[in-house]
């Protein structure tokens, strides 16, 4: 997998230090992989943003896979507007990924279920098991991502953007 190109985003009046080193993509990938919960932001047909917690798996190809009922608010939103944002659970040491959702392909299903169940068995022993019955399944393909360390106000020195296109 090729790593995305990193730069410092333009954020007027936030005092970002242009000369401080950028975070590297493995820093972000590590946090995306280990997060138990994620926030997903979608947009309702009315234009109002919707924020919901999901479980999912950050995969080796740097995409995010998750399951959700077809009648859920987030899926109904994604059918109308497939562009969405996904964030890690820790707001002080964070990664936000902006991308576009598609349905998981049949040839991706077995690996996804296996990895997902290993992840959540380790994090939440006895929670149950995700099976093919819980579909449909979705994949967010990143376009751009942001990461920073907010702890100790290091946000101005660490804010990094990654470009996938």
């Amino acid at each position: 997998v090729t790593e995305p190109r990193a730069d410092r985003p333009h954020m007027p009046n936030y005092g970002l230090e242009t000369s401080a080193p950028l975070l590297d993509w493995p820093w972000a990938r590590y946090r995306l992989r280990r997060s138990r919960d994620y926030w997903i932001a979608t947009v309702r047909p009315s234009g109002a943003p919707h924020l919901m917690k999901v479980w999912g798996e950050w995969r080796d190809d740097d995409t995010f896979a998750f399951s959700s009922d077809p009648a859920s608010t987030k899926v109904r939103n994604l059918v109308g507007e497939p562009r969405c944002s996904v964030a890690t659970e820790d707001v002080d040491d964070l990664v936000v990924v902006e991308g576009r959702v598609r349905e998981l392909r049949a040839d991706e299903l077995d690996a996804f279920l296996a990895h997902y169940n290993v992840k959540y068995d380790a994090l939440d022993p006895g929670w149950g098991e995700l099976s093919a019955d819980f579909g449909p399944f979705w994949v967010v393909e990143p376009v751009v991502a942001f990461g920073c360390v907010e702890t100790d106000h290091r946000f101005t020195q660490t804010m990094t953007r990654w470009n996938f296109t």
Partner: protein, 165 residues
């Protein structure tokens, strides 16, 4: 009436979330709004979702305070979120907890002179920052609906949706 104190009690019901085994409101129990409010007051960081002019969601971390039944925050005049909110004032905010999440959806309006004192005091005592000295725009998200739950075996019996008049 104490400045900044809770003035409203929203109507509680069970959220619509198919496939998650949520019980009807007649079974289990609903969370008190005071439970949600405690978390909205106490959270150090928050997630704010807005909608970009092109229809995509934007998700970013933010600091803020819960004052007078609303989420009060500041941001740069030319920040992505401020520009989004000028075009579309609808937003969602959630506390920094995926284990006891509270999410509020509503409409953002200017803070207004009446709340400025309570906002500044709350911000000062929470972050030890004088928000009056921060350049930018100061806003408040007034809730329309809210969601709260506890992420353990109680979830199906306790997930709650609140509706504000």
């Amino acid at each position: 009436v104490v400045e900044g104190a809770a003035l409203v009690t929203p109507r509680a019901s069970r959220p619509y979330a198919p496939g998650y085994g949520i019980k009807p409101a007649s079974e289990g129990s609903l969370l008190d709004w005071s439970w949600a409010e405690e978390r909205l007051v106490a959270s150090r960081g928050y997630w704010l979702a807005t909608t970009r002019p092109d229809g995509r969601p934007h998700l970013s971390p933010i600091w803020g305070v819960w004052v007078a039944d609303s989420f009060c925050f500041g941001c740069g005049e030319e920040s992505r979120k401020a520009r989004n909110l000028r075009e579309n004032p609808r937003a969602s905010v959630s506390v920094d907890s995926t284990l006891e999440p509270v999410t509020v959806e509503g409409v953002v309006e200017p803070l207004g002179d009446q709340l400025r004192g309570a906002y500044r005091d709350a911000y000062q005592s929470k972050y030890d920052v004088d928000v009056g000295e921060i350049e930018g725009t100061h806003l408040r998200l007034v809730p329309g609906i809210a969601f709260g739950s506890i992420d353990d075996e109680r979830f199906p019996d306790i997930a709650t949706r609140w509706e504000f008049a």
